[in-house]
Subunit: 364 residues, 2 copies
């Protein structure tokens, strides 16, 4: 090890950074790999940002509101909660990071299901904590017993889950809360696309933390805004490790304006869900095993022309799509995901382009 | 301790969050308390942000460039360095946080001078590290011997220093680098206002890290952009703990446009420095001990009408200014700062308002 690395905490040089999905810089791609929204955000977001940069951007010389107070207040109202139940983050990744910094660390076990969002183990490793992965089986039913027995200080549960799209009913989450005695983080990044969410459980279970993002349903991945909903004492702990100016002026203004436009988002979420259900049904009928998704993506197990499924088949379709500038996500590293592709729900045209490419692949 | 706090890392419930300077939300204040720029940013910043939100903000639905690549490249060029020498942060506070997460931690000593930026001990405490403070004496000369003997893995040195404004010459910093064997972080938040900076030392000293912010000289505190300049191996370590989408689209675009407008900033930095030197001289001539500032603020030890200085006098003037809606900064917690006020350099009108209030205070 070099002199420089030897000055770092001993676990740091061995860390592997999280690998985000490809963000191609050139145009011409059908980009269905990072669950972005195929439709633009509420126009109110751009209007609010334009207002914030009026007078040649003069307001930008001043620091933002350190607690994102107006946005925080609005989010609280939206969910029927108090301000003290809300913390605003620089994307929900910021919030997840704060949760690990508070409840993880060298002396704690931090747990999550496998498969789920691959950022969790990265955040735990940065904090030099111990990781416990609770495995799903192919049914993707919630392993309540294993979660209860995990011994974790904090458990991260993605619902609807990624990359499967499978949602867990509030009653199932409640069963976990009754038996697991640590902090249960329900990562609801995709909840706006689902039939139900867990916000109603917050009043009864102080150990429940819900995280949300504006990157998916609200089409604001470029703005980096997410939040936590939790008991005021948990919010207070997160606030102790939060950067005091973590969310900038434009993100605060744009997010607040977007969230106020519920009618706009009801419409695009409805459209995305119809597109999702259409293609999920289409591919299921073709004989491809496809989980019932309540998110803005479809996790499907392709079969080739010979009717075979498996990692080689999934990889073949992934590469074929790539060669046609269609970007989807392939997760080869786990047995439960290696035969599948995750395809973000795009516009009708984008989905047709995928289907036409699949037809061409089948006809090869 | 409650059940919830007992689930946190043991050191977390006892943490005290950093206290940012007051950010009044109502208008009518002369706000000279957080070293913001009294002039707006380059108009190019707002233009670039407006371009990024064209078409009703459609681009906001896509994630930002994960490494802020175009901005990173530009910053490198600006300082005559390679891309691999640069890391872009969500404000320089983000960069300082990453430095502590890499080089701090429970088994390390992290050190800094006292007084200096009060965020450093907060960041070290979050990471459960040990703190060593190296005290200045009233001369504010750099305590090279004490820094060399600090035993720290990383030492944070603010130059020009806050809240004094005193800058350390590159030769003094080099003397530290020759004798201190840890990572030396020179926090150059205020370097654009100074006669010299340490960028030229990077090629010779791989243990030197320089941090910069766009919040002060570039009038973009509201946008949250800062960066680190360092050896590629250090940048690589920081990148392992960095949030993959830490800087949003609008901040990347606005910062790049602002940095390209060097002529604009040369002019406002020149104006701020002239205003600073004028009032520093004025107050010195009145018999108030005033450090020679190379930053965008003045640290001065007021004397009352009876010619007395001291904490009670400084506090009295602070409160008198506050009663006239003039906000400056008072640091009562350290013997070397308690008799002083730190006044950010404002516009000519704002500085006149301060002077008139001082006259009224003296005539009380």
């Amino acid at each position: 090890m070099s002199d420089l690395s030897s000055l770092a905490q001993p676990h740091v040089p061995a860390l592997h950074a999280y690998t985000p999905g490809l963000q191609p810089t050139e145009s011409g791609w059908v980009k269905l790999n990072t669950n972005e929204c195929p439709y633009g955000p509420s126009p109110r977001a751009a209007e609010a940002i334009a207002a914030e940069i009026a007078n040649a951007g003069d307001k930008l010389r001043l620091y933002p509101n350190p607690t994102s107070a107006p946005l925080r207040k609005f989010v609280a109202k939206l969910h029927g909660l108090a301000e003290e139940n809300v913390l605003i983050g620089n994307g929900s990744d910021d919030v997840l990071n704060l949760l690990v910094r508070v409840f993880g660390g060298p002396s704690a076990v931090t747990a999550f299901t496998l498969p789920s969002y691959s950022l969790y183990p990265v955040l735990v490793a940065i904090q030099n904590g111990s990781v416990k992965a609770v495995e799903f089986d192919r049914s993707m039913r919630l392993p309540v017993d294993a979660i209860a027995a995990s011994g974790a200080k904090a458990f991260f549960l993605t619902s609807p889950n990624a990359p499967t799209g499978v949602a867990f009913a509030p009653a199932e989450i409640e069963a976990v809360l009754q038996r697991f005695d640590g902090i249960l983080v329900v990562d609801e990044a995709y909840a706006p696309f689902a039939n139900a969410d867990c916000v109603g459980l917050l009043a009864k279970y102080p150990r429940l933390v819900i995280t949300r993002t504006l990157s998916k349903a609200h089409a604001l991945a470029g703005l980096r805004v997410g939040y936590a909903l939790a008991h005021p004492e948990v919010i207070g702990l997160l606030d102790r490790v939060r950067d005091s100016y973590n969310v900038n002026r434009l993100s605060q203004a744009g997010a607040l304006a977007a969230l106020s436009d519920t009618g706009y988002y009801d419409a695009i979420i409805g459209k995305i869900n119809r597109t999702r259900d259409h293609w999920s049904a289409e591919w299921s009928e073709r004989g491809w095993f496809t989980y019932e998704s309540q998110a803005n993506f479809i996790f499907t197990e392709p079969k080739n022309a010979a009717g075979e499924a498996g990692p080689a088949v999934a990889k073949s379709l992934y590469e074929f799509l790539l060669s046609r500038k269609i970007l989807v996500r392939y997760f080869p590293s786990h047995a439960l995901t290696a035969s599948f592709l995750r395809i973000s729900v795009g516009t009708d045209d984008e989905m047709l382009a995928v289907e036409q490419a699949i037809q061409a692949w089948l006809a090869k």
